[in-house]
């Protein structure tokens, strides 16, 4: 059906425009949502998407449709293009160097097609769930890309991800997530176990109020995942161009973070669900450092932002905005059982949400901790607090990275949309506010 839709669409665009591209996707997905330890709803989707992209004399029109009946849009394209003026972003579609891919797990396909989650609920022992809330999601994603440069590409992948918030009591909770292209109940159970341990630890400690001041902080992979995803997205040429970044074009090859930090964009990592061998322009993806030992090594580009930056595409299209596929943060040498000791006096922040910027160019932001925040003195947990804020500058925070954990987690949830493999991160002198 995808090829049929793509080719039927391409036939209607051919010879009318200087260039065209059609991307047709199908996502079959099932999700179990839990609250108060019980299923609140099971949802499934069968979603077709059609992206059409055409250019004429440097004018760009694109459209994203969630429908299998996009009839009227084809009639309107010429009229609309006639009214536009050339786009300053226009660049010719690049050579289609991408390759077909298939990275699927038959167990996921079976569950999605059957709509039966009992196998998953048995594997994760949901009948034994305590006060859990979260989601478990399995999907099979397929897409086809054809364009006027004779690109004819097909990709297929699966994913299994989710997150769980575990409550020991109303004021003591932990939350963790997992993600993979494979059906991996083992990593799901490990993540749920991590959330449960944090909840129990918080419940066992006295509740503490802390004062607003600068602290050493240990950021869990959930927190670091949220902040470093923003860092990687800020390295998109589009974010820089449109003013949603604290990086500048001139920052390339300069130090922007502590030398302890290396972040890679890894579209070819078979374990992470952003896996793809071609981007939205049909260009071959490649694994690359975004930040390597603290130095900004790559601004992520599609052909459009590359032209404006005098660079080459990095295979990160987005037809409009370049984006990372999978993020991978290089591990350091902090062992799990040493991290609190190395933290010394400070806070272990285990989850966060609501990261917002006051000033994008200057990187001023704050984010709110949720779930357990463990207060640590002389390397020992002495209390549990919650809902404090990191209110700092992203540039300062990156420079103040002092240590990186050795163990890696695969994270993807509400606040970390890009699949990310990363460790704990230790930051000194972070500005913390508290009620």
């Amino acid at each position: 059906m995808l090829w049929e839709l793509a080719e039927a669409s391409a036939r209607r665009l051919k010879d009318r425009f200087d260039e065209y591209e059609v991307i047709v996707g199908n996502e079959r997905e099932i999700m179990l949502k839990l609250a108060n330890g019980e299923p609140s709803v099971t949802q499934s989707w069968n979603r077709y998407t059609i992206t059409l992209y055409v250019t004429k004399n440097g004018k760009i029109f694109q459209t994203s449709l969630s429908s299998t009946s996009p009839g009227e849009v084809f009639e309107k394209l010429d009229t609309i293009l006639a009214t536009l003026s050339p786009s300053p972003l226009y660049a010719p579609l690049p050579e289609p160097t991408g390759q077909d891919y298939e990275n699927t797990d038959e167990r996921i396909v079976e569950i999605v097609e059957s709509g039966d989650l009992s196998r998953v609920s048995e594997a994760l022992e949901l009948d034994q769930a305590g006060n859990w809330a979260g989601t478990i999601r399995l999907a099979r994603e397929e897409r086809v890309l054809v364009n006027s440069n004779k690109a004819s590409l097909h990709g297929e992948r699966t994913l299994f991800n989710g997150y769980m918030r575990v409550f020991a009591d109303e004021d003591s909770s932990g939350q963790w997530s997992w993600t993979s292209t494979m059906y991996r109940p083992d990593i799901a159970k490990k993540a749920i176990g991590a959330a449960a341990r944090l909840a129990e630890e918080c419940a066992s400690l006295p509740k503490k109020k802390i004062e607003s001041r600068n602290y050493r902080v240990l950021l869990s992979p959930m927190v670091a995942g949220n902040l470093l995803e923003i860092v990687a997205r800020s390295a998109s040429g589009g974010a820089i161009l449109f003013g949603f970044s604290f990086f500048k074009k001139e920052d390339l090859e300069t130090r922007v973070a502590s030398e302890k930090l290396t972040i890679l964009d890894k579209p070819r990592d078979r374990e992470l669900p952003g896996y793809s061998l071609f981007d939205d322009e049909g260009v071959a993806t490649r694994d690359k450092p975004v930040i390597e030992k603290g130095v900004l090594k790559n601004i992520l580009h599609n052909s459009k932002t590359a032209k404006l930056f005098g660079a080459k595409t990095t295979g990160n299209a987005g037809l409009l905005m370049p984006e990372p596929f999978n993020l991978d943060v290089a591990p350091g040498d902090l062992k799990d059982d040493e991290m609190l000791e190395v933290l010394g006096d400070g806070l272990y922040i285990t989850n966060n949400w609501y990261t917002r910027f006051q000033n994008y160019p200057e990187g001023l932001f704050s984010t709110v901790a949720r779930d357990a925040v463990i207060v640590v003195e002389r390397g020992k947990p002495i209390g549990c607090t919650s809902r404090v804020r990191i209110a700092d500058s992203m540039k300062r925070l990156l420079s103040n990275i002092e240590g990186v954990g050795a163990s890696l987690w695969q994270i993807q949830w509400w606040e970390v949309s890009t699949p990310t493999r990363l460790p704990h991160i230790l930051v000194s002198d972070a500005r913390i506010t508290s009620e």
């Binding site: 979603r47 009946s69 917002r356 160019p361 704050s366």
Partner: protein
């Protein structure tokens, strides 16, 4: 492949509901949901892209064996739609054994109605061609040379959408609706004297192209350019510590949405969104308890004509009405859908909304605002000896219990001896909900609404809302 246009009416959806019942569901609903629209984005006055959007499909939600199942498809082929019905029932039955209590829907007088929001200049009739001309005219009407800052990038988006829905429920609800909306989005990054800043804003309502004038888009952009100039060239370090604070309608509207609207959602109170949007202080502080001064009344009203969050029946066919969340300082009703109303032994107040064909109806706000008082802005300020006036914000957030919020001023001024003095940069008001609402001692008459896209649910759903309020005065709160 056949390209075709199709709208399923409530009458055509009824057989799907019947099919769900035949498969063993005790409750069923089927809906067709289409959003189509057009968007143009200009960068520094030139179009970077134009796009047409179409999202349409069918969703089916059922209760079977006391468990809730949902399935949806944007393939309108008969076998795919039937498959969605079968899957919804199967999903529900598969997890029924894990439930300790059956899920039920409250009994309601459901609507059988068709309604639409009016648009004097219907964007669909004028089409995308006009939208581009309007966007360019809008951009050209702004004289950037009047502002003494460098404009690094000026992104201006103009879009309209037509949302068409039809719904049938197994207990008699039959609703059809059509709501056109217009939205303007802009993001301006500017620099001066070695420092940079960014301001973005969203303006929107239900209606047609006439909203560009009616909502004062040009004036809003010009006012934000003036704010950027003040921020970059004139703003000084703000005072810190406990002081009186006057907040403008933009900040007050956001606070009503974040600190009152969200925590009043009964699904959050019951823990259904605990892992996503979080919980609520209303788990501990119950209806009838005092949370603010007598001057505070907060309403969520979907029925405001022309509003961004406008609707007359919710996505469970329940008639919409104004919801009084706080009445004279006392916590009042929750926002309910039929599921939470059944759990709490009450009636739904019509708060179930969906973003698209792929989304389950969950409890959402519509247009949340604080009722105005009778003070002018000058009167609010003249009684402040030392304080800060925060007119606009950029950064904000709130914890997942909706208890401690932070609003950081973008355009803000020092107040001394009842007069506005120099602009100040980034004053951060960090305050808990009770303190915020209890410290209000005067409420202005200048009620204004601001558009937003509110996010909630999994998969995340963004729905259009208005957030409104008048200027207010808070006594003795903390600026950090």
């Amino acid at each position: 492949m056949v390209f075709k246009q199709l709208i399923l009416t409530p009458a055509e959806l009824t057989p799907l509901v019947d099919k769900a019942l035949a498969l063993g569901a005790s409750y069923g609903e089927a809906a067709f949901h289409r959003v189509k629209g057009f968007q143009i984005i200009l960068m520094n006055g030139s179009p970077i892209t134009a796009s047409y959007t179409l999202s349409e499909g069918v969703r089916v939600r059922v209760i079977a064996e006391g468990s809730l199942g949902f399935s949806s498809t944007d393939s309108l082929e008969k076998h795919d739609v039937i498959d969605a019905v079968e899957k919804a029932v199967k999903h529900a039955k598969t997890t029924a054994n894990l439930l300790s209590k059956s899920i039920k829907m409250s009994d309601e007088r459901l609507g059988r109605a068709r309604y639409e929001a009016s648009a004097r200049e219907d964007p669909e009739e004028r089409g995308g061609e006009d939208l581009f001309k309007l966007a360019v005219e809008l951009y050209k009407s702004i004289d950037l040379s009047r502002y003494k800052v460098n404009i690094n990038s000026f992104l201006l988006g103009l879009s309209y959408s037509i949302e068409e829905k039809s719904l049938a429920t197994s207990d008699g609800g039959l609703i059809e609706s059509r709501i056109p909306r217009l939205e303007v989005f802009y993001s301006i990054t500017a620099s001066s004297e070695g420092s940079s800043a960014n301001r973005w804003q969203q303006i929107g309502g239900s209606g047609g192209l006439e909203l560009i004038d009616e909502l004062g888009v040009v004036q809003a952009i010009e006012d934000d350019l003036r704010s950027l100039e003040l921020y970059l060239r004139n703003a000084k370090t703000p005072p810190k510590g406990r002081m009186d604070v006057v907040l403008g309608p933009e900040v007050v509207g956001l606070a009503m949405h974040e600190s009152i609207g969200h925590p009043s959602e009964a699904d959050r109170v019951l823990g259904r969104e605990a892992a996503q949007a979080g919980l609520s202080y209303r788990r501990r502080i119950k209806p009838g308890e005092k949370i603010g001064s007598d001057l505070v009344t907060v309403i969520d009203d979907p029925t405001i004509p022309g509003s961004y969050g406008f609707y007359l029946y919710d996505d469970e066919a329940v008639p919409a009405r104004p919801r009084y969340l706080i009445l004279r300082g006392v916590l009042n009703e929750y926002l309910h859908n039929r599921e939470t109303a059944a759990i709490m032994g009450t009636h739904s107040n019509g708060s179930a909304r969906t973003m698209a064909w792929w989304s389950e109806p969950i409890i959402r706000m519509a247009n949340t605002y604080m009722a105005p008082g009778d003070y002018s802005l000058e009167e609010l300020i003249e009684d402040v000896k030392e304080g800060v006036y925060i007119k606009k914000y950029m950064e904000w957030n709130i914890d997942d219990y909706r208890w401690v919020a932070r609003y950081v001023g973008f355009e803000a001024y020092k107040i001394r001896n009842g007069r506005l003095e120099e602009p100040v940069r980034n004053p951060a008001l960090e305050v808990n909900t009770r303190e915020f609402f209890s410290s209000i001692d005067a409420v202005g008459s200048d009620l204004r609404f601001y558009a937003g896209t509110c996010g909630k649910g999994e998969p995340a759903q963004g729905v259009p809302v208005w957030m409104g309020g008048p200027s207010i005065r808070l006594r003795g709160v903390m600026i950090k």
